[in-house]
């Protein structure tokens, strides 16, 4: 019940396209859902986060969509850029953060 599933494992998108990464969870006690971006050799950095009482949150080109009944949430990156190429992790918080396995995004120029 502590697991967070994430898909796809890897994603290739053309510059200007939309990148979509999906996550699912089982534990309904999770109450905070951040997305992290990690570049090689660096620690994860917070991208955007949402609480379960909100269905969507947008910050610039990044949007989280949250479906509480389905226990799913997704990250949408609009107008994807080569600089967005990184590994993305979804996470969920109960007493500590549980991370998904990550999605490696490559944005082609």
């Amino acid at each position: 019940q502590q697991q967070v599933k994430q898909s796809p494992q890897s994603l290739i998108v053309q510059k200007g396209g939309i990148s979509i990464i999906n996550c699912a969870y089982e534990n309904t006690a999770f109450d905070y859902f951040p997305w992290y971006q990690q570049f090689p050799g660096k620690g994860p950095a917070l991208l955007i986060a949402i609480r379960p009482d909100v269905s969507e949150k947008k910050e610039g080109r990044f949007t989280i969509s949250f479906n509480k009944s389905a226990k799913q949430f997704s990250l949408h990156i609009m107008d994807s850029q080569p600089g967005d190429s990184a590994t993305y992790f979804c996470a969920a918080l109960r007493q500590n953060f549980v991370f998904g396995p990550g999605t490696r995004l490559s944005v082609l120029p």
Binding site: Y32, Y36, G43, P44, L46, A49, R51, L93, F99, P101
Partner: protein, 115 residues
Amino acid sequence: DAGVTQSPTHLIKTRGQQVTLRCSPKSGHDTVSWYQQALGQGPQFIFQYYEEEERQRGNFPDRFSGHQFPNYSSELNVNALLLGDSALYLCASSTWAGMHNSPLHFGNGTRLTVT
């Protein structure tokens, strides 16, 4: 405003040895969590320290231990190293009061290689 700093950045140890990793939290943060990130995997929670006490622990053996100092900095100790302990060890800081509405701030990690 310094972020989370970790030392050393890289470390090579031999099986059976012991290692100590260090972390200074972001200014204003009082809670430190440690994560293990194996290659190609998401971070896995090891434990969390607040007020110099271990508050939560993940599914890691007691070869993994830690400490938090009065200035909120922290150490992660791993005894009797195994090859499988090779990973990136991440320190993350936060505020105890904001645990349920604020994110973790990560350092860049210590890359531990056990040979």
